[in-house]
């Protein structure tokens, strides 16, 4: 749930809210790319009572990408070709005492139907898809992460996973990499997930690439030298993550520069010196806000941001990059932002969920079972 409530629109419309995106080479089937999109945060209820919206297009977009430059001006070049996996869901139908929902994945090789909640998912033409409720795999102590922004210092660790036991709605796609852009395409792919309206009026409502860019970094207005009273996240989420419009780039840059400089100063030293224009070394790389996976490298649990940091140093990357479900991105990101690895690991004290994801399709753990009967609050009529 790294991107839950990332802006007023998502807070008001939780069904559009993308909470996480994961992309990694399949640990089960080498040469296959796994894409995961989670939506609809904070659901501590039975899986059978959660449904995808029939008015949304849930889509995962993949582009070929290559390293365009390395060193301080490191950048990716995104190819024009796109392969998208677009999920549309039906209105649930009554079946006995329950409601069953089905959906259709429109992929590069055609359509495939999927029954929501079917553990086995659906397969067709080298594509394997799943849609349904799962346990939220994200873990964070929000007292810690929020405490940093609130108190402007690194707080004491309480080690409580604020999200333990929450369910979310997941979409999982496993596809053979060579079928995406051809056998001779480069190994790097860039991944973004979006929710958009699927009626005659089309609008992108939420968009996510890397975790916690919007909440850890863009939410914090206090260090922004330009816009201290503007939540830029709704504007940012409306953008095509592969092609940000020039209109608001200045506002995004100012927010990232100010916020990341604040994080860097939390340990009393500077690990990310700004350039003469006040630009943080990570700003341009993070504004290329998509997950980058190297499909020529084997599955690696800890590849998150490794490719980006390597090209920034001007070195070859070693891992598949991307983002694996169980990776502790809170610790990784805070450590990178605060000391760039030149100091102790910054940890919120939460290193996983009670039920980590497995290495088998659909990877994410089963949802929290039927929760206990609600205990009424004392003195409150139910």
């Amino acid at each position: 749930m790294s991107d839950h409530g990332a802006g007023p629109r998502s807070i008001a419309n939780p069904e559009i809210d993308i909470t996480d995106v994961f992309a990694f080479p399949s640990p089960e089937r080498p040469g296959h790319l796994v894409l995961v999109m989670n939506t609809y945060p904070f659901k501590e209820i039975e899986a059978t009572r959660l449904f995808f919206s029939d008015a949304l297009d849930y889509r995962i977009r993949v582009h070929p990408v290559r390293v365009a430059s390395t060193g301080p001006s490191a950048a990716f070049a995104v190819g024009e070709e796109e392969r998208a996996f677009s999920f549309i869901f039906e209105v649930p139908q009554k079946s006995g005492d329950s409601l069953l929902q089905s959906g259709t994945c429109h992929g590069p090789a055609g359509k495939i139907s999927v029954r929501v909640g079917d553990e086995a998912g659906a397969r067709s033409g080298g594509l394997h898809v799943f849609a349904g409720c799962r346990l939220d795999p994200f873990f964070v102590d929000q007292q810690f992460s929020g405490g940093i922004r609130l108190n402007r210092r690194i707080p004491e660790v309480t080690s409580v996973n604020s999200l333990e036991g929450q369910n979310i709605l997941s979409i999982v796609v496993e596809v053979e990499h060579s079928t995406l852009f051809g056998a001779h395409a480069g190994p790097l792919v860039a991944v973004i997930a979006e929710t958009a309206t699927n009626g005659s009026f089309r609008a992108r409502l939420d968009r996510l690439g890397r975790p916690e860019i919007k909440n850890f970094i863009m939410m914090d207005k206090a260090s922004d030298a330009v816009n201290r009273d503007l939540d830029v996240r709704d504007l940012y989420s409306e953008e095509d993550g592969f092609k940000l419009r020039p209109d608001y780039l200045g506002a995004y840059r100012a927010r990232l520069n100010g916020s990341m400089a604040f994080y860097d100063g939390l340990d009393g030293k500077t690990d990310w010196p700004l350039d003469a224009k006040g630009t943080h070394p990570l700003t341009e790389l993070l504004l290329a806000d998509f997950l980058v996976v190297d499909m020529s490298k084997p599955f690696n649990e800890d590849g998150y941001l490794e490719i980006e940091r390597a090209i920034l140093r001007g070195e070859p990357h070693r891992t598949c990059g991307g983002r694996w479900v169980n990776h502790d991105i809170v610790d990784s990101l805070l450590t990178i932002l605060i000391n760039n690895g030149n100091g102790p690991r910054i940890s919120d004290g939460v290193d996983g969920t009670a039920v980590p994801a497995s290495r088998k399709f659909p990877y994410l753990s089963r949802p929290t079972p039927m929760p206990p009967k609600l205990a009424p609050l004392v003195g409150i009529p139910t």
């Binding site: 629109r9 069904e15 904070f42 501590e44 008015a55 649930p92 409502l205 205990a375 609050l377």
Partner: protein
């Protein structure tokens, strides 16, 4: 027409959200923002289903939260919303004063204040706030708020383009905001004496969200007015049977009376009487207007209607409240 999430899905998800937040509240793990969200969602469900128990629960939860977090502006904002939903307008305005003193975001407090001022007939003050909100940010909420205020004042020419603009500015797929907007638009035309237009908007609202009891109740009223009395009676029988809001039983009794079905009308009248009595004793401000409407028509006790209409006028001095009192007085037999 803007496509929104199917009503069945939206309602199942709303109920699921409420249950999840309740579970968190009961375990003491709910954040301040989530407390406010729980209160808001209960008020939303109460409004859509016409479920009085949800209004009461929202108020009880907001009061509980205030006891636990009395230094937080959000607690007072939540309480203002819950109190406003039960027509405790004076109390809601004073809660908003405290919320603002405690630093609640100005836009949120002003939107709530505008709603309360509008409800009590202080239209000019509400208009200032609504216009400021649109100038600050012309999004769906602010434009729809201004449209609803003009609609409430019967200013159809001003309201119509704003209703249209609200659609253009809508960014989401939840059916709740649009169903409420369509209901308000229908209600404006109903009060303006255009039952056909009103029916179309009530119908749009109900089709978008079939569980929306108020929309279906008013749709039935418009259908009855336009001659489809059988259809209206069928709708109202179901609504009156399902809802704990006596308005539907009262409407049904009135239509059945008019159609000469006295026996069934008496049954629904008795049910409405009992429920209005319960509700007026528990929440006099909230139900004085609807109860007065009932007693002056199907309830056949205009003296009681006058007492309640006067109480309603004390709560909110609006043209509608004044008209209700006039109707109640007119319904009384000449001395």
């Amino acid at each position: 027409m803007i496509r929104t999430t199917n009503g069945t899905i939206a309602f199942a998800n709303l109920a699921a959200q409420i249950d999840g937040l309740e579970l968190h509240a009961a375990s003491g793990r709910l954040t301040s923002r989530s407390w406010a969200e729980l209160v808001d969602l209960l008020i939303l469900r109460a409004h859509v289903l016409g479920r009085i128990a949800d209004y009461e629960r929202a108020l009880a939860l907001a009061e509980l939260r205030l006891r636990e977090a009395s230094a937080e502006g959000l607690s007072f904002l939540s309480l203002a919303r819950a109190r406003g939903s039960l027509h405790l307008f004076k109390e809601a305005l004073s809660d908003l004063d405290v919320a603002e003193r405690l630093g609640i975001e100005n836009a949120a407090a002003q939107a709530e204040r505008a709603a309360v001022l509008q409800a009590v007939g202080r239209y000019d003050e509400a208009l200032v706030l609504r216009r400021e909100a649109v100038e600050r940010r012309a999004d769906f909420e602010s434009v729809a708020g201004l449209a609803a205020l003009h609609a409430e004042r019967g200013e159809t020419a001003e309201a119509e383009p704003l209703f249209d603009e609200s659609y253009v500015r809508f960014r989401g797929v939840s059916p709740f905001p649009l169903a409420q907007l369509e209901f308000q638009r229908g209600h404006m035309w109903w009060r303006a004496g255009h039952p056909l237009r009103a029916r179309d908007w009530f119908d749009a609202s109900w089709r978008r969200l079939p569980a929306y009891a108020q929309a279906e109740g008013h749709l039935a009223e418009a259908e009855a007015e336009l001659g489809d009395r059988e259809g209206a009676i069928a709708r109202l029988r179901r609504l009156a049977g399902e809802s704990d809001d006596p308005d539907y039983a009262a409407q049904l009794a009135r239509i059945l009376d008019e159609d000469g079905n006295a026996a069934e009308a008496d049954r629904w009248r008795a049910r409405a009487e009992k429920r209005y009595d319960e509700l007026v004793s528990r929440h006099p401000a909230a139900f004085a207007d609807h109860a007065a409407e009932f007693w002056s028509s199907a309830g056949r006790d205009p003296q009681r209607a006058v007492r309640l209409a006067k109480l309603n006028l004390e709560v909110r001095d609006t043209p509608r409240a004044r008209a209700l009192l006039s109707r109640a007085i007119a319904a009384c037999p000449a001395p």
